[in-house]
Amino acid sequence: MPTSSGCNGRAHIVGHGGDQQSLQGLMDALAEQRIVVPLDRMDLVLHEFTVLQRQRALINGIVESDGLSGIHTVISRSRGAL
């Protein structure tokens, strides 16, 4: 079964137009976690990844640049409070 895990070295995803370097980051992360994704499922993985990359960048950009770096958080939520 063809796979895209790091067990078989670096994945080669061609023709998706995604950010190849970032995608390699996902491949490396999956390999590190010992998670194997069949190649025939990679189209949707890449689509999801592209969306999530944008969203991560948006969040990190806002927190770093909009004066929000001082805000705190708590891990648990209760009473509707954050």
Partner: protein, 464 residues
């Protein structure tokens, strides 16, 4: 019979002896038998259990009288197949969980049973309340009773479909990014995502701990209020459960909206390509109805939806990955295609991403609280168009919906129908309230239900 009576009417008919619980359950089972080979709302139907429980309810009523029986005594309900029912599988619509048997009832299921409800069975969901309408899972995807070619929305797809099809007046769903309100909107039923912590999640398979909410989908706002009254309350077994007083949700339902300040968040979606002109006209009609009832309508600007969705998705990716990492390593091919593609994303989310998302969430929640300094509730969209067809549904990212924000901030939000589109598919609006102010959210939703005439809307024709 049960599909034509509201919950309060059923309760009255049971108390007076005009109807028996066994009749209500048989009517529900007959409807399910007749229609569910096409709708696929149920993944598991407990026919004999339900009939035996109904007979036991009827016997109890005969022997003890009906005066002091709980509100749902002898009334059929159903639950999404991520809620534990003791002795039965909680499959989460997944091959990975076909052999799982629950040892005890989920906290919310226990509350339903304590209130006398009869649980007919388990309802379809997107796999692990995450995937999407899929054909590579152990059960077929639920279909929309208003049009079998269209999706019912999700992930509480079976809950929306079961209520819309008239199998039951009340079903339990769960909501991490819109999974109660979106199927409610597209199936023409009422769906309430309560305040974070209002309803117990004990015994409900999690998707993302800090975004997950449990709540009811029901045929009417009154049915929803009755359901919430039963479900709401502190459960120490759920670490996110709130120890807050529970209001009386039914007594204020029909007070109306006169004098209320209702924020209108039209600017949030009016220029989006996904927003259909027909929905926009429906939204404006709903706004006008409330204004005609002498509510004070004020324009408000909510936190940016794109930011809310980004925060929600990064948190979901991290938390769901933590839940599924072990199975992703050992059984990746047992997940459906869509679910697998979404779950593996968490491998690439860093602690910086996750914690920045939590920090921004706090900011977004504070911004939402500021909105409530200017108004009592907010009127906004939940879905921006009618349900997509199965052939064009794609992934949930492409759905015309705006529901994620209030899972992120934790505010209570309800979807209430406003009518049918020219294609005969339901449309809805969303009412959002302050933390733990479900009573007011329900009251405004009830006003819209009356003003829209939806309470007189017959069930979809499933005979043809």
């Amino acid at each position: 019979m049960s599909r034509e009576l509201s919950i309060s009417e059923m309760a009255r008919a049971l108390r007076s002896g005009a109807v028996k619980s066994e009749q209500l359950v048989r009517a529900a089972l007959d409807r399910i038998n007749a229609c569910d080979t096409r709708i696929h709302a149920f993944t598991q139907l407990n026919r004999e259990y339900a009939l035996n429980e109904a007979r036991a309810c009827d016997l109890r009523r005969r022997e003890q009288g009906a005066d002091n029986l709980p509100v749902l005594h002898g009334i059929p309900v159903a639950v999404k197949d991520i809620y534990d029912l003791a002795g039965q599988p909680t499959t989460c619509h997944s091959k990975l969980r076909l052999d799982h048997i629950a040892e005890q009832d989920a906290g919310s299921v226990q509350r339903l049973k304590d209130a006398g409800a009869i649980v007919l069975g388990k309802l379809a969901t997107h796999e692990f309340a995450l995937g999407g309408p899929s054909f590579d899972l152990p059960f077929p995807p639920a279909r929309n009773p208003w049009s079998l070619r269209h999706i019912p929305g999700g992930s509480s797809s079976g809950s929306g479909a079961a209520v819309a099809a008239g199998y039951t007046r009340l079903a339990l769903g769960s909501c991490t990014g819109g999974s109660i309100r979106i199927p409610a909107a597209w199936c023409g039923v009422v769906g309430l995502k309560p305040t974070y912590g209002r309803v117990s999640r004990h015994g409900v398979f999690p998707l993302a701990w800090t975004l997950d909410h449990c709540g009811p989908l029901a045929r009417s706002v009154e049915d929803t209020a009755i359901g919430l009254q039963v479900l709401a309350g502190h459960d120490p077994r759920d670490p996110g459960s709130a120890d807050e007083p529970v209001d009386d949700y039914c007594s204020t339902l029909d007070i109306g909206v006169r004098g209320l300040r209702i924020g209108v968040a039209r600017s949030r979606f009016q220029h989006l390509a996904q927003t259909s002109a027909e929905f926009l006209r429906g939204f404006d009609r709903a706004s006008q109805w409330l204004a005609q009832e002498q509510a004070n309508m004020v324009e408000v600007c909510l936190p940016d939806d794109e930011e809310c969705v980004a925060v929600g998705r990064v948190i979901l990716a991290a938390e769901s990955f933590a839940l599924h990492a072990k199975d992703l390593r050992s059984r990746p091919l047992d997940y459906g295609h869509i679910t697998l593609s979404r779950l593996v994303q968490g491998a690439a989310v860093s602690s910086e991403d996750y914690l920045n998302a939590l920090r921004l969430r706090r900011e977004l929640a504070a911004r939402m609280d500021t909105v409530f300094e200017r108004c009592d509730v907010v009127l906004t969209a939940v879905t921006l168009d009618t349900a997509p067809a199965f052939t064009s549904a794609g992934t949930v990212h492409g759905w015309p919906a705006q529901a994620y924000a209030f899972n992120v901030t934790g505010h209570p939000a309800i979807s209430v129908p406003i009518g049918l589109s020219s294609q005969g598919l339901p449309m809805a609006v969303q009412i959002v309230g302050r933390y733990f102010d479900e009573a007011l959210v329900l009251r405004v939703a009830r006003a819209i239900e009356k003003l829209s005439g939806w309470e007189a809307q017959p069930l979809p024709d499933l005979e043809s």
